[in-house]
């Protein structure tokens, strides 16, 4: 049951993450439809079922599923692939890795059941009850031990930039998770809300972002065949994000019930985030110089460059929203929901798609089954997302200004009603794209043509 085959952990993490990708995105669609028709999935007289399927439960499964199941597992898979590849050292223990993968899946399945039963802590993004919180931390420890032992056993001492990011992320995730989930419940009140958003934002900044950038730094030279543009930019980018990001939490409570000094302690680093973001992107675009034509030829390059652009956009929008005057208009509206999808989906899920597309042929010896399906996956994801996000941004601005005029709440709902329908249409396209993705990978593993290994030549 617990395979010891090389890279089986990475593969198992990826294959199971695909299941959660579909499930949790479907939950997102259900929530979007419930915002159009509140009686969707409501069954007259079935009280227990209606409780299980109530709007909030499905939304919690959507957010936790996408973040802790799909995206985290895809990223963990990426580390289990890239760290042995970079260190040229076999994973310390594939058995332990596979065990971690199994426990991870069981924990997520348990979370789904528990949330449907209504045992949420009530704290957004940190809804899992204490038992599962401890489970998550144990998983972090198991995976860290495995990956650190692998790094420790390496022959070449110098560490490539991707490894710095992975090492940082492996310590930040358990720390961020602990602060946000465990002592915060004892503290309560505004201080807990502050800790809640410390977690809610830093899990993005010090886990998804940093593992995502680590992957970009690995994939970019592989896919372009060019050296990474600048070692100095890598250094600046890494150490500035490590310094600045952790301060970002309070910007979620701007204008709200926290002291002004704390708002400013959150807003200033939010703006300063432009430093690591632009530094990393200068490195990406510097590397791309002279090889832009590859973007037209290679779907992986398309995904990667699009991810970089959305990362840039998310990190312009984010600092902008953190400002008090802007926050006063868009906060609590649909705008924020559009923004919240950009980095996890259009930036870092895209990066994970590339990693999987890149690695699966190298692990299974089979070419990706269909390039056309890859293209469909790309266009549905991008166009679907743009439709999804722009409708929400427009709806958010309309809501924000209507509230400022004291428009009765129900009127503001009526005004944005058709936009919310188009949001669901965009969301449906995003999901359809993922069906192409999963089908394509399934056919690859089953029936892909033979892939000629390029492991030694390095240049893809």
């Amino acid at each position: 049951m617990l395979s010891n085959a090389p890279f089986s952990t990475a593969k198992n993490f990826w294959y199971t993450s695909l299941f959660w990708l579909i499930i949790s995105m479907l939950c997102g669609l259900v929530v979007a439809i419930k915002q159009i028709d509140p009686n969707f999935l409501y069954f007259q007289g079935q009280d227990a079922l209606n409780f299980a399927l109530t709007y909030a439960h499905i939304r919690i499964i959507h957010t936790n599923g996408v973040l802790l199941a799909w995206l985290s597992m895809a990223m963990v898979g990426a580390m289990f692939y890239m760290i042995p590849k970079l260190t040229r050292t076999p994973l310390w223990s594939e058995r332990l890795g596979n065990l971690t993968c199994i426990i991870w899946n069981l924990a997520i399945a348990a979370a789904v059941v528990v949330i449907c039963m209504g045992y949420s802590t009530g704290v957004e993004y940190a809804e899992l009850p204490l038992v599962l919180d401890i489970g998550v931390i144990i998983l972090c420890v198991l995976m860290s031990i495995n990956l650190f032992m692998t790094i420790a056993k390496r022959q070449e001492k110098q560490l490539y930039v991707s490894i710095w990011y992975f090492v940082g992320s492996l310590i930040w995730l358990p720390l961020v998770y602990t602060v946000g989930n465990i002592p915060s419940s004892i503290v309560g009140g505004a201080a807990q809300a502050n800790m809640n958003w410390f977690y809610g934002h830093n899990v993005l900044g010090l886990w998804f972002t940093t593992v995502g950038i680590g992957q970009i730094y690995y994939l970019l030279p592989k896919l372009t065949g060019k050296p990474l543009y600048s070692h100095k930019l890598s250094l600046i980018g890494f150490w500035t994000i490590a310094t600045i990001y952790v301060w970002n939490g309070p910007h979620h409570l701007v204008n709200g019930p926290i002291p002004v000094w704390l708002m400013k302690a959150g807003i200033i680093p939010s703006i300063l985030l432009i430093i690591p973001v632009w530094t990393v992107l200068a490195n990406v675009f510097g590397t791309m110089r002279g090889v832009w034509h590859k973007v037209a030829e290679d779907v992986n390059m398309k995904f990667l460059v699009t991810a970089a652009i959305f990362y840039l956009m998310a990190c312009l929008q984010g600092p902008f929203q953190a400002l008090m005057q802007v926050s006063a208009v868009v906060k609590f509206t649909h705008w924020v929901v559009g923004h919240a999808h950009m980095a996890p989906f259009a930036a870092f899920s895209f990066v994970c798609f590339v990693t999987i597309y890149y690695a699966v042929p190298r692990l299974t010896g089979r070419n990706i089954y269909s390039k056309a399906l890859m293209n469909w996956h790309y266009y549905f994801s991008v166009i679907g997302f743009l439709m999804f996000a722009f409708t929400l941004w427009i709806a958010g601005v309309i809501q924000g200004f209507a509230w400022m005029e004291g428009t009765p709440f129900i009127e503001t709902i009526n005004t944005v009603r058709s936009l919310i329908v188009w949001r669901a249409v965009g969301g449906t396209m995003m999901i359809v794209g993922q069906f192409f993705f999963v089908f394509n990978l399934w056919r690859t593993v089953k029936a892909g043509t033979k892939f000629a290994s390029d492991e030694e030549s390095v240049v893809a």
Partner: protein, 143 residues
Amino acid sequence: MSDKHNNHEHHEEHFDEVMGMKQGHGKVPRFLIVVYAVLAIWAVGYALTVKGIDERPADGEAAQGVSAEVGKGLSSQCLACHGADFKGGMGGVAPTLHGVVDKLKPEGVKEVLTKGRGGMPALGASWTPDQQDSMVEFLKTLK
């Protein structure tokens, strides 16, 4: 320890190889250095000067005065029970507000607003006299 110094064919800049990954030594673009500097200066300025937003009217009441317009702004809470057109709702429990000022007179309306009646909460208990008068003015427009 396999830092190989190679000469790339097309570019003069050299690159190292770390863990099988090639990395160059490109310069930090000048515009980025400008961005770093501008942000650093901005951050200090922001930290020292900015105050929190508070858009509450400075001295409580004086700001708005008495008008049907102000009353309309306060009316969004009424329609939850009295209906979107203020013609009554909740299956007749909440009566129509059309003509209510004629019926109860301004004093009577203000009494209900500030003290509540039956299922009606004292919505206007915390309102200023100007706001209460504004609500009366607004209700007069419903005819």
